[in-house]
């Protein structure tokens, strides 16, 4: 593919993310990868549900005493909103509006960063209470499930930052359009997982 090929809004294809064979491969491959991630998280959820509130005799922490919904609510809002902003970015990708796309992606990254900061705050808070990773089977399962999600967020942040800076000079082309598109898929998927985390871990945890 000729990298220097400059497109205009008129020549930009309708589905830039699938315009070349390489792009199609990435597109399909990434979806398949996400299908594998479903099972990965299902295993984590299974482990968490089995070990929820399980610990040595005299376990001091339980889901009900630990979780604080207001914080989780704010985190949820941040992540949900970032999902919308990345939709906006893709909207501009299709319209061949590079600047706006970068802008919306930057906003997405900031929201994600906010989410991650709150999660770090939450974890340190718990640790200060004494609910450490080694505290009980419950704590291990909790940190591993929520932490794996958090790790995904962090990876997404690094990924998008690299993309934004890498392409700042290059502008949009068919080579990097797919990269942006797969990032957005990834980001939505992280949101999907979070929906289950706030429901199954936090909300159901508070119920008991």
């Amino acid at each position: 593919m000729d990298l220097n090929k400059k497109f205009t809004p008129e020549t930009w294809p309708d589905h830039p993310e699938q315009a070349t064979l390489e792009a199609k491969n990435k597109f399909v491959g990434f979806w398949i990868f996400l299908a594998g991630e479903i099972i990965l998280f299902a295993t984590l959820f299974g482990g968490y549900l089995a070990l929820k509130n399980k610990g040595p005799s005299g376990l001091e922490f339980s889901t009900q005493s630990l979780y604080e919904l207001p914080l989780v609510f704010v985190m949820t809002m941040l992540l949900l909103t970032s999902s919308l902003t990345s939709v906006y970015a893709m909207y501009h990708l299709k319209n061949y509006n590079f600047k706006k796309m970068q802008l919306w992606l930057a906003i997405t990254a900031f929201l994600g960063l906010g989410f991650l900061a709150l999660e770090v705050y939450e974890f340190t808070h718990y640790v200060q209470l004494g609910f450490t990773f080694s505290n009980s089977a419950f704590s291990s399962a909790f940190y591993t499930l929520v932490g794996t999600h958090g790790f995904h967020v962090a990876v997404g942040l690094v990924w998008i930052t690299l993309l934004i800076f890498r392409n700042a000079k290059r502008g949009l082309n068919l080579y990097n359009a797919t990269k942006y598109y797969t990032f957005s898929l990834y980001w939505h998927f992280i949101d999907v997982i979070w929906v289950f985390i706030f429901t199954v871990v936090y909300l159901m945890g508070v119920i008991g």
């Binding site: 491969n25 491959g29 291990s140």
Partner: protein, 624 residues
């Protein structure tokens, strides 16, 4: 090709292979990497059998014996059988669908290096003197309390190799979905391609749980987590579930490609279309699906309760039905055919009775109340070696003989091939048939020795003699390979003369861009169709000769894998040394930098000029 490589000097050649993203070279590296580990696992098997030759034997110590069985099982399954099959998939599948490469050549190379570094990591345990010793299943109460770093080698080594496996699986899936040549519909794909597809889908869904399981094990052992420590509220049964959710599909990941290889061989050497092709496809998919629903049949004696046992028992037995469909379709393929007993065909013919015997004992184990007696006895050992050796290993040997001319342009000796078969096949039945009775007679598996006077002596000796015969057979195969390579008699496109699938329509070995022109596929067994219609080359192009786009080689996959390899040691020694943490971080950093380089650099590949392709075509005598 090889003469060019020789002129370039040794270092350059090595670098060329290390950086190669060509699916054929990657496939060959998978193949030889896997064969290397097969020899390791085989030597371990020989030691196991020698230890059990006589009662109260002390050839190896109790601890060493446990290390041997653990490493034998792990090596054979994850580092030998699966990679060798990946080798075939990599080399053959793109050729069969008329593609020029896999969908992600870079990731293909990454998967290879992850496998190699994972395998090396695991086996370095021998040199560190801390070897995994809790069985390949690593049930956690034992794996958690196992001292030293043995189980850490297991957890991290398999984690690295497993990542490679997952990547390879996704890669194959996308290749098959997106890169089929014009006319190659799903229902025209060769059976081996189909089984590759389903096996890859199994990998996609089976390996992520294992990733999590291994992380839990790693965290428990190295980072103070409590998943499996029951005094802290943990639960060891979680591990058993996770392991078998991977473990059972894993055995179908092994056997399905083996089925694919045999399907090809049967129809070629019976000169007959595969009987009931669509039923075969359906059965493959069904086996794959059912494979996920039966994992608890390895846990009948864990105490899950009668309801769970009953459900899983019935589900397990159900797998006999689609597998039976396959067996009978093969039988009907050779029925009414024109059977030529070449070496590959010999293996295929040996496979049918052997695998059926292994399969039916599997169904017996599926009967839960009966499994209460059979579980963890030598009957199990007999069952799974019957399906694995009688199915997978025979398929590997068959595939080696069958595709060797395609991959290396020279034929393995048929005579030596048959000698190998005779030794291996007889040795195999001698080793494992009698083990069914050892199980009935109350001999548990994984025992490092046994007392005299329990009536097991003769049977064990017979078993060991059989194992040694297998060793002889395999040695003949190695000799065969060496002799063939030295003689180096070149062969034509279609040395078996009855080739039916696309790989037989290009030269042996194929040029690095595979097809000068993308082929046009006109039906199942397209080459056969062409040949029957008088087109000797078996090939109809779907496009004029044009410039061919090829990916660039890259050393980055090597360094990404190396980084994880280094980080593994750091993680292992983090707690007890001062340098551990640093090494962990440095290793991860190396991987990360390599990854970033990859994503920041534009890598657009290059073009093979039309003129060069035309010249290649001419120098081959214009055969296609």
């Amino acid at each position: 090709m090889s003469s060019v490589a020789q002129k370039r000097g040794f270092g350059a050649t090595v670098y060329d292979w290390m950086t190669s993203v060509d699916h054929k070279k990657v496939g060959i590296m998978y193949l030889f990497g896997g064969l290397f580990f097969f020899i390791l696992g085989g030597i371990e098997a020989m030691l196991i059998r020698l230890q059990l030759l006589t009662p109260n034997n002390d050839l190896v110590s109790a601890g060493l014996f446990n290390e041997l069985i653990t490493m034998h099982g792990t090596t054979m399954i994850f580092l030998a059988a699966m990679p060798i099959l990946f080798g075939f998939m990599n080399y053959i599948m793109p050729l069969q669908i008329g593609a020029r490469d896999v969908a992600f050549p870079f990731l293909n190379s990454l998967g290879l290096w992850l496998f190699i570094f994972g395998g090396i990591f695991l086996n370095l345990s021998w040199f560190f003197g801390h070897v995994p010793d809790s069985g390949w299943t690593s049930y956690t109460s034992l794996a958690i309390s196992s001292e030293g770093h043995g189980m850490d080698f297991y957890a991290i080594g398999l984690q690295i190799a497993g990542a490679g496996t997952l990547i390879a699986g996704i890669n194959f899936l996308v290749t098959i979905i997106n890169m089929r040549a014009p006319g190659m519909t799903y229902m025209r794909m060769p059976m081996f391609t189909w089984t590759t597809f389903v096996a890859s889908a199994l990998i996609l869904f089976a390996f992520p749980p294992f990733t999590i399981g291994l992380f839990m094990l790693t965290f428990d052992r190295m980072f103070g987590a409590n998943f499996f420590d029951h005094t802290m509220g943990g639960n060891t049964i979680i591990w058993e579930h996770i392991f078998w959710i991977m473990g059972h599909p894993e055995v179908y990941i092994l056997i399905l490609p083996a089925f694919g290889i045999f399907s090809e061989i049967f129809s070629v050497f019976a000169r007959k279309r595969l009987f009931g092709y669509s039923a075969m496809v359906f059965a493959t998919v069904l086996i794959g699906f059912l494979g996920f629903m039966v994992w608890a049949h390895h846990m009948f004696t864990v105490g899950l309760g009668p309801t769970a046992n009953a459900i899983f028992a019935v589900a397990t037995m159900a797998i006999a039905v689609p597998t039976g469909v396959k067996i009978f379709n093969w039988l009907l393929t050779i029925w009414g055919g024109s059977i030529k007993v070449t070496t590959p065909m010999l293996y295929a013919l040996g496979f049918i009775p052997s695998f059926v015997m292994g399969g039916v004992t599997g169904v017996m184990q599926g009967a839960a109340p009966l499994d209460y007696q059979l579980h963890d006895s030598y009957f199990i050992v007999a069952h799974f070696h019957y399906v694995i050796v009688g199915g997978v290993v025979l398929a590997i040997f068959a595939g080696l003989h069958y595709w060797w001319p395609k991959m290396f342009g020279t034929m393995l000796s048929e005579k030596l091939g048959k000698v190998t078969f005779a030794f291996f096949f007889i040795g195999f039945h001698l080793t494992f048939l009698i083990q069914h009775w050892l199980g009935f007679w109350g001999m548990p598996r994984r025992v490092w020795t046994y007392m005299d006077g329990q009536g097991w002596n003769a049977a064990n000796s017979i078993s060991t003699i059989g194992a040694l015969m297998m060793g002889v057979g395999f040695t003949v195969l190695v000799i065969n390979i060496i002799i063939t390579t030295v003689k180096n008699v070149r062969v034509s496109n279609d040395p078996w003369e009855d080739g039916r699938t696309l790989e037989w329509a290009i030269s042996s070995p194929p040029p690095f861009y595979n097809y000068p022109q993308t082929p046009l596929v006109r039906g199942l067994d397209t080459v056969w169709i062409e040949k029957m219609e008088g087109n000797k080359s078996g090939f109809t192009p779907s496009e004029p000769v044009v410039d061919i786009h090829m990916p660039n080689g890259s050393i980055i996959p090597f360094f990404m894998s190396l980084g994880l390899f280094i980080a593994g040691f750091g993680a292992m020694y983090r707690a007890e040394t001062t340098w551990g943490l640093t090494v962990l971080i440095l290793g991860l950093l190396l991987t990360f930098i390599a990854m970033s380089l990859r994503s920041v650099k534009d890598d657009l590949g290059y073009y093979v000029k039309k003129e060069d392709v035309l010249r290649d075509l001419k120098s081959k005598g214009g055969s296609n």
